[in-house]
Structures are given as C-alpha cells and as structure tokens.
C-alpha cells in the first residue's frame, strides 16, 4: 500500500496535470487542442457537469456524480486536485510561503453563516433558473474568466511582440493575434475576483474554498460522511504542531487534536510532515459531527467580510459605470436590439441562460472572436454569459467549436449541416443608415460576406442596394460586421429568442456545356 507521505506527491502530480491542461485549454489561441478532447478535460468540473446533467439527464454529463462518489470515499479531493481555481490558489500560497519563509498556517475560524449563505444562494440560483449567483461563485468558471479575460490577452501580447521581432528577419511562421474585447469594463469582474482570491490565498491558504465557494461547502458537508477521513491518532501524536502549520485549510485543531473534515481539502500536506504517523487517513464509517467552537485565530472577521463585500460592491459599481457609447452622427439612426444573439446550439436564449456558467471556454476557443461576455444584453441575471457580438467578429459558417467545447450543455453539439441552416437571429436592414441610400454609391459589403445569400444586391437606380430575405438568414452577423457605416450599422442581427431553421437557397446549375473552340468575346 502507498505510504501516506507519498500521497501528497501523487496529489501534487494530479493537480499539476489538471492545472496545465486547464491553462493550456484557456490560453490556447490557435485551436491547437482539438475541441474533440476538450470535453474530456472539463468532464469533472462540478457545476458545469451538474447543469449539463440537469439539462440532458445523460451519462455524458455524469462528471459531478463521480466527484460526489469520490468525496464520499476520500473527502474533498476535487478541491485539491481537480478544481483549477483551487490549484491556482495553492500556487499563490506557495509563492507566498517562498517569499515569507516563516509563514505558517494555524487553525482558522469557520465562517459558518457566510458559507451556508453562499451555498443557499447558489442552490436558490439553480432552482430559480437564474444562474447569476452560481456563475459569480463557481470556481471553475471564475478560473476560466480569469484566464480568458486577463491572462490570455497577456499571452497574445507576448506572441505579438515575438511576431514583430521575427518579421524583422522575414520570419513569418508565428502570426500576430488580435486582442479583441467588446467591452474592456467586463474584465473588471475577473480582475476583482482574482484580487480577492489572490489576497485570501496569499494570506490565508484555502479560506476562499471554505467560505465563499459553494462547491467547497457542498462537498464539505458530504465529506463529513466520507469513508476515509484525515484524523489525528491521539496515541501517536507528540503535539509537535507541524501538521497544523502546513494545513492550508486551517482545519487542524492542535489543542483538541481534531481535524474539521468538512474543511479539509485532502491535500495530504499533513501526512508528509508528521514525524510519528500521528495523523492518518482512517477508514471511519461514523460521520463527523460539527466540531466544537474553536477560538478565533489569525484573521479578523471584519477584514474578511469587508473584502468580500468590496468584491460584490465592485461588481455592482461597474454595472452602473457602464454607459452606451455615443459616436459621431455619421450614420444617424441608433440600432436597438430587442434580443441578444445566443450561440448556435443553445436552442433558445432561455435555455442558454439557464445552463451557462459563464466559464468563457467558448469565448476562449472561438476562432472568430465573435463570442464575447455580455453585460446587460441578457438582463442583469445573465451578466457575463457569452453573446454573439458582431462588432468584434462574425460566426464562421464552417465552424462548430463553441458547441463542441461547452462543458455545461448550454451550447449543445450540432452537426455542420444543421448549423448551416440554424437560424440564431435575423438580419434587419436599416435603409436610413445605408451608404447606398445616403451617398448613392455602390457598397455591397453586407451581401459580399453573406454565406447564405439571404442578403443580395438588387438594382436601385444606377447602383445596387441590399435586400434581405429573412427565410435564408441564419443570423451569423457577417453582414453586420462588414457593414462600413459608423457609428451605427445599416444592417444588424436581431436575436431569435428561440432558434429556428432557415431555408436553404437551392438554385439550378449554371451553364454546363461550353464550347472551348468558340472564339473569345474580344
């Protein structure tokens, strides 16, 4: 049997593997990782898997059941080894410990009220069909947003610096990548969240996981009945306190020689340092009751609560700071969209809102950069969930990537043939803004880009003007993206609340037989 002290090495190896996989997944900017494999990597992520399961009732989405079973057996190994945000926190505390050699952990106060409040809010959020709370709290999705919105632009910037350096030597095998963000303010959310997590992890190890994270709290409840529990062997323990010093969850009580299993993330650090096998993984069928009142130790409750409050107030603040951009009146008529456009495969806006955890993996994977975090397009409760933003790009006709990578079932897999007639919205033509009508000159950028020829150019005096035929439109937004009028577009896509099927344009074959011996027409 594996020695207890080597369990930690195993845990670290698994964590590093998961972390690298997730970092690669969210930072990959050239779709190097095939979307086919993405679902294997995200399979075990608790909240997306749970939502997908609630949606589909399918075993392809049973990752969270596996995690529940794992927790019943071994405690919160998910938090230590599978959750990318948890691992990110470990990296932050590692840095903290390296910088402050004498940094030790000690038993921390349990914020019972706060943690159950977050859990209850999360559950209510799921039950009520509005995912805003769960989306703000889900560790995996927060990790995704931090990487997609904050770290990925950095990686792209580094890439671009390299590209221009190499181009000086006529080396072109690396390509520049455009950094496209529809709304720079939306990076405030992940920035605030990262600051909170960074500060907590830097100072207090896994306090976030034991107070704010609803997944941590839920699995904590479950781990009370886990078969294997970390427990102090009173006979062997020499009260050296080494275990308490390395416990990043702050759940080892040296005075009472007890471990609060519900807060233990099964990192096994204690096993490694114990000189006497005084702390053990024990098979224990008895559920652990709630532990007795422990004294408040190293942190001020007030300090902690205020920092959490700052985070949420910050979010609300940024919501108010956002205003509509008003530009020069070159094109006169503002575009007001009734509905946002949800990604192809999401079936309907409602279905999408009910299942998307806003992890931003689709945003990160979208080669056209058309998917962007939404602000209030889906309403306040849909904040940060991705929407099609035709200012930054348009949906590639031949691409299915978002539907392949989505871990929560908010965007369901679709076939390419189906996608090509899947109507996620309809193009609306605003004649008053169109060059052809305002300048009386030719343009045709919209029709040029239209993959289904729902938009065609028809004679209008000496020039040609756009004509939209709804039934062929799939709402890909190529016309809106290409439309050159500023600040308001002359053609835009109105989202379909429920996705429909467009007609396919079928036309007869052009001239088939040509006599190549005939003379040239000049």
């Amino acid at each position: 049997m594996m020695k207890l002290s080597s369990l930690k090495k195993f845990r670290v190896a698994v964590s590093v593997l998961f972390f690298l996989l997730f970092a690669a997944l969210f930072l990959d900017y050239s779709n190097f990782i095939s979307p086919k494999y993405t679902n294997y990597i995200t399979y075990l992520q608790f909240i997306p898997s749970l939502l997908k399961f609630l949606n589909l009732f399918s075993l392809t989405a049973a990752g969270f059941i596996f995690i529940l079973l794992l927790t019943v057996l071994f405690g919160r190994v998910y938090c230590s080894s599978v959750c990318p945000l948890g691992i990110l926190q470990d990296i932050i505390s590692l840095v903290s410990r390296k910088l402050h050699k004498k940094k030790y952990y000690s038993l921390t106060k349990e914020y019972t009220l706060l943690k159950y409040l977050f859990l209850v809010l999360a559950v209510i959020s799921i039950l009520s069909g509005s995912l805003i709370i769960i989306n703000l709290l889900d560790p995996y999705s927060n990790f995704g947003r931090i990487f997609t919105q904050l770290f990925k632009p950095l990686v792209l910037a580094i890439n671009n610096v390299l590209v221009y350096a190499l181009a000086k030597f006529n080396i072109y095998w690396l390509y520049p990548q455009e950094i496209k963000a529809a709304n720079i303010l939306l990076t405030l959310f992940p920035l605030l969240f990262l600051s909170l997590v960074f500060w907590l992890a830097y100072k207090h190890g896994r306090l976030f996981c034991n107070t704010v994270c609803p997944v941590g709290t839920l699995l904590g409840l479950l781990s009370r009945i886990s078969l294997f529990k970390v427990e102090i062997e009173k006979d062997n323990c020499i009260s050296c306190k080494l275990c308490e010093r390395v416990c990043k969850s702050g759940c080892i009580d040296k005075e009472n020689k007890s471990v609060d299993v519900s807060r233990c993330v099964s990192c096994f650090n204690c096993f490694q340092v114990c000189p006497t096998e005084g702390i053990k993984y024990k098979l224990n069928f008895k559920p652990q009751k709630k532990n007795k009142k422990a004294a408040i130790f190293d942190i001020e409750k007030r300090e902690f609560i205020s920092s959490v409050a700052v985070f949420f107030i910050g979010i609300l603040g940024s919501a108010y700071a956002q205003k509509k951009i008003v530009g020069k009146k070159a094109s006169k008529f503002p575009v007001f969209k009734k509905n946002p456009v949800s990604p192809p495969g999401s079936l309907s806006i409602k279905n999408f809102k009910d299942s998307c955890t806003a992890c931003h993996l689709c945003i990160s994977s979208c080669p056209s950069r058309v998917l962007q975090p939404s602000f209030l397009e889906y309403g306040f409760t849909g904040m940060l969930q991705p929407a099609m933003d035709y200012r930054t790009g348009f949906c590639n006709f031949e691409c299915l990537i978002c539907s392949q990578v989505c871990p929560s079932g908010a965007i369901l897999p679709i076939g390419l043939e189906k996608k090509k007639t899947l109507q996620i919205g309809k193009a609306k033509f605003l004649k008053e803004n169109c060059i052809v009508f305002t300048e009386k000159t030719d343009c045709g950028a919209c029709a040029e880009h239209c993959p289904t020829k729902a938009v065609t150019m028809v004679p209008y005096g000496d020039v040609k003007s756009p004509e939209v035929k709804d039934e062929f439109c799939i709402g890909c937004g190529a016309c809106e993206y290409a439309c050159p009028t500023v600040p308001y577009k002359a053609i835009y896509v109105e989202g379909n609340a429920v996705h429909l099927t467009a007609k396919k344009k079928e036309e007869k074959q052009m001239k088939e037989k040509i006599n190549y011996q005939e003379d040239f027409p000049f």
């Binding site: 050239s30 671009n160 590209v163 221009y164 181009a167 006529n170 072109y172 390509y175 520049p176 990548q177 455009e178 080669p367 056209s368 590639n396 006709f397 031949e398 691409c399 060059i435 300048e439 000159t441 030719d442 343009c443 045709g444 950028a445 029709a447 040029e448 880009h449 239209c450 993959p451 289904t452 020829k453 065609t456 150019m457 040609k464 756009p466 290409a482 050159p484 009028t485 500023v486 344009k505 036309e507 007869k508 074959q509 052009m510 001239k511 088939e512 040509i514 190549y516 011996q517 003379d519 040239f520 027409p521 000049f522």
Partner: protein, 306 residues
C-alpha cells in the same frame, strides 16, 4: 502609360532579363528566345487546366524570367478571401498559384511570399482554400495578412477619393508583385477581378465602401501596378459572388488571362463574364484616369485555344 510606353517598358524589361537568362540557371522548360514574341499586351487562353493554361500564357510572354530576375523577392497575391473549398472557386485556384510560384523559382526568385487580407477567418481561409498547402509544396512562404501591424501607410498621389491607404509590407518590400485574382460576380463591384483583388492588400476596406467603392478601387489601382495580373477564370462564379452559395453558381469557363495592364485584363474578364467593360464602373473610371486601357481593340492580344 500609353501603349507605346508600355511596349517600350516591356522591351526594356526583356533586355534586362537577357543577361540573367544567359546565366543558364534557368530551367529549359521555357527556353524560347527572350525577345521573340514578347510583344503581346494581353494573353488569353482557354480550354486547358489552370496550370497548363498558365504555362502556355507565360511562355507566349517570353517566360517568367521577363518579370522575375535572379535573386529577387516576389509577392503573389491570390484571392483567399473565403473559407470555402477549391471546388467552390471563391478563391483563386491553388493549382494555378502553385504553378506561378514554380515559374518564379525557375526564373531565379530568392523568395516567393503569398498572402491575402481575408474576409472570413484567415487561418481557415488559408487551409480550406487549399492555397496554404499549394504554396508550401511549391516552396513559397505563406504569410498572414490579418494584422494591422503588417500594414504601412502610403500616399496615393493620383487618388481622388482615396488619397492614402495602409498597404501590406510585403507589397512594399518585394521586388515583384504578381496579382492573381479569380473572376467572380460581385454584389457591389458587379464583378471582381484584378483591381478589386487589390482590396486584399490594404487594411481598411470599410473606408472604400463608405467613399464610393468604384472610385476607390480605381484610385488604388493607380498606386502600384502589379508586374503581372493573372486572372483565374477556370470556374467562374456567375452569381451569388463573391462568396457563392454552392458549386451550382459556377460556370466552367476554363479560361485564363494575363497582362501587365490591370485595366485591360479586367475589361477582358468582363467580356468573358458576359458584361461590357463599361458595365463595371471602376473599369470605366480607371480607363478615364489613364491607369490602363479598357479598349481591347487597341491591344495586341494573343488568343490561345487548347
């Protein structure tokens, strides 16, 4: 430039090429005397495959060595605007692109670059058009056109609506520029051929669309004359262009045009398409601006049927 100057320039180019040819580093495939038949303003070929038609056409112009000298860098600009397969003919035929690159290398080119500022996602356009592979197999270098950093601002002295533009650095730094459009129908432009294809070497196309597309197309044609414009009219998209909906939009014309005069080659392409040059506003304007001639009767045309 009038016709006399055109011929003079061609002859000078040919003379300059002669010493290079005599160095003997060039393949014997097209070993015709350099000055023999190099007086055509335009060559039109039909009935062959894209690559074999190009062989014939360039041969009748005295070979690529008249245009590409030993050690020069060449930039080839096909139309790679769309994420569609080669059968759809929304992009230039990859076989033609490959054959042009081979000829450039046979003429002694040091480096041949290929790029386009695409409309659809550029990586997908490059791979699904078959052009990326064709270029690599032929020994050329395929370069991105998808980033503003590659584009340098230039003045367009003779431009009326378009007086400056940001142009891809390869166009400015390469010795030889070969324009390889594919002939297609086009909603705003009527047809897209040589001059319209130059929209793929600039960054801000929206400006053109806002400021009289046809005038801007003609304006930009006055900026830099490609050494050659080679029109792929093998499969011609007769409707729903420039992206097309299906292969049903195509007519198998099996034709190819080549000329130094971008206006003349566009005029000839219009004829093949079934339009008069005057039906296409930017051809009319470019002719008026004396960028080239739309009057095909004034040209010495070599017509080849295969």
């Amino acid at each position: 430039m009038d016709r006399r100057e055109f011929i003079k320039r061609s002859a000078l180019a040919a003379l300059a090429a002669a010493p290079a040819a005599s160095l003997g580093s060039i393949s014997n495939l097209f070993a015709e005397p350099v000055l023999s038949k190099n007086s055509y303003d335009l060559v039109a070929v039909k009935g062959g495959e894209p690559d074999s038609m190009f062989d014939k056409a360039i041969e009748s112009l005295g070979g690529m060595k008249n245009y590409v000298k030993k050690g020069q860098t060449v930039v080839v600009k096909p139309n790679i605007g769309w994420d569609t397969s080669p059968e759809r003919a929304a992009n230039t035929n990859p076989k033609l692109v490959a054959r042009i690159i081979q000829h450039c290398f046979n003429a002694g080119a040091k480096e041949v670059y290929v790029f386009d500022h695409t409309c659809d996602n550029w990586t997908k356009c490059y791979s699904n058009s078959g052009i990326e592979k064709a270029v690599k197999d032929a020994g050329g270098k395929i370069v991105s056109g998808a980033s503003e950093g590659y584009y340098q601002k230039v003045d367009i002295k003779h431009g009326i609506n378009l007086t400056d533009a940001k142009v891809h650095e390869l166009i400015l730094s390469s010795d030889v520029f070969i324009n390889v459009p594919v002939l297609k129908s086009h909603g705003g432009g009527r047809i897209t051929v040589g001059m319209k294809n130059l929209m793929g070497i600039v960054w801000d196309r929206g400006y053109w669309h806002r400021n009289d597309l046809h005038q801007c197309i003609a304006d930009f044609a006055s900026f830099k004359r490609p050494e050659l414009t080679i029109v792929d009219a093998y499969n011609v998209m007769m409707r729903n262009g420039p992206r097309g909906v299906s292969v049903n939009d195509l007519s198998p014309m099996k034709s190819l045009l080549i000329s130094q005069d971008i206006v003349a080659v566009d005029a000839a392409a219009a004829k093949i398409f079934g339009l008069e040059p005057d039906d296409v506003p930017y051809i009319r304007i470019a002719d008026k601006m004396k960028i080239g001639t739309k009057d095909l009767t004034r040209l010495n045309i070599n017509r080849i049927k295969m």
